[in-house]
């Protein structure tokens, strides 16, 4: 079914071709049938807010298609982006398990398909399906590891250039480009958003990119970024 946002919606988890590749979705048949009965498949445009930090947990959001920006906000309005969630990730999980308010704000970066499950239905589902319970534990563990990684990057990096270099190397690893001598990245975020990922200002990010280009460490063409000198980038990241 084609949605208003140009998405080819997957109506049923039972026929989803991506299921086997995704940690949470790859459930046993009985659990999958139960999940199918409690989820609401929804399409969102770019820029839609799924939940806001501090809000009481309504349920979980399984990201099927598109990407979602997860951020925290200071009282003065400053924003820090923790992660860009990819398809297969379950959002709002810890709050739905603990019953405490959402810790993060989730906003779509692209048009997204999300399967929403109400909190009470989700908790009942976990009680009835041990395998699903274990998969949720694995997802929470991975989120915890990511958060620790983020603390390390934010707390122990000396400078904005070090954090930017680490971010670019991290993206090249995630995109399967790490082993290539000149990794290629699609830059889907604005300088403002990158600044929010490394806890600095937009102006600093723009200046750092200009500096990296001048030193021929990176090259950009449209939204594609080519890491021309990976060794130099690693030195900046403090990885060598």
């Amino acid at each position: 079914m084609l949605s208003p946002y140009g998405l080819d919606l997957v109506e049923s988890c039972l026929t989803c071709k991506m299921r086997s590749e995704r940690l949470f979705c790859d459930l046993p048949a009985a659990a999958l049938q139960s999940f199918e009965a409690i989820k609401y498949a929804t399409a969102y445009p770019r820029g839609a807010v799924l939940f806001v930090e501090g809000q009481a947990p309504r349920g979980i959001f399984v990201l099927c298609k598109g990407r979602v920006k997860l951020s925290i906000c200071a009282t003065d309005g400053k924003t820090l982006i923790l992660k860009i969630a990819e398809p297969g990730e379950v959002l709002g999980l810890s709050a739905s398990v603990s019953g405490k308010p959402y810790e993060l704000t989730a906003e779509t970066v692209d048009p997204c398909q999300v399967n929403f499950v109400k909190r009470e239905d989700f908790l009942r589902f976990l009680k009835e399906h041990a395998e699903a319970c274990f998969k949720v534990a694995e997802q929470l563990a991975e989120k915890y590891n990511n958060a620790c990684h983020e603390v390390r990057a934010l707390g122990l990096s000396h400078s904005a250039i070090e954090k930017l270099a680490k971010l670019l190397l991290d993206w090249s690893t995630r995109n399967g480009e790490a082993s290539k001598p000149e990794p290629r990245l699609r830059m889907a975020l604005t300088h403002e958003e990158i600044a929010q990922m490394i806890g600095t200002s937009r102006e600093t990010v723009t200046r750092l990119f200009a500096d990296l280009k001048k030193r021929q460490i990176i090259q950009t063409k449209g939204s594609t970024l080519l890491v021309h000198n990976k060794g130099a980038l690693k030195v900046l990241a403090g990885a060598v």
Partner: protein, 166 residues
């Protein structure tokens, strides 16, 4: 290295309703858990695990305090959390199968219960109630981790200085 010596100490003898994360299991499950664990003592300064190390198992802290920290290559250190009795250490590494993200060091003379990774995973797969309890533990851990992200990420944005860096 920590030496593990099984003792007569039993989780069943611990006061019930302690509010401790993993220890407060229903009786039948607690008895099963009790058989899986080995009690160890570790003196002040002992390192239970370090960053990058493969997870052998989880440590349930019975007595004493343990500092969880993150260290940079140059030896700078952030205290992530001071864990107290009842807290479970190394859980996310065990469940994810990844290396430890934190370093755990005893601040006092501690008593810990170690459960080997394969035993814990089997225990959780076989006992849904225990797995549900673990979800609560992980959700609490994650909440703390997000607080630290907020502390370091947004504090640095505002003031340009790190907090609690040693």
């Amino acid at each position: 290295m920590i030496t593990h010596r099984p003792t007569a100490d039993s989780c069943l003898d611990c006061p019930p309703g302690s509010g401790r994360q993993l220890c407060d299991l229903p009786d039948g499950l607690l008895a099963t858990f009790d058989k899986l664990k080995a009690i160890s003592t570790c003196p002040r300064g002992q390192v239970l695990f370090t960053e990058g190390q493969r997870a052998r198992g989880v440590f349930v802290l019975c007595q004493g305090r343990v500092r969880l920290s993150i260290t940079s290559g140059e030896g700078r250190r952030i205290t992530f959390h001071i864990a107290g009795p009842g807290e479970t250490l190394g859980l996310s590494a065990v469940l994810s199968g990844q290396a430890h993200e934190l370093r755990a060091e005893a601040l006092d003379n501690c008593r810990v219960a170690l459960v080997q990774r394969k035993d814990l995973l089997h225990f959780l797969r076989e006992n849904r109630a225990a797995c549900e309890r673990i979800l609560q533990v992980l959700a609490d851990d994650l909440e703390l981790a997000y607080q630290r992200v907020r502390q370091f990420g947004l504090a640095r944005t505002r003031r340009g200085t790190a907090v609690s860096v040693h």
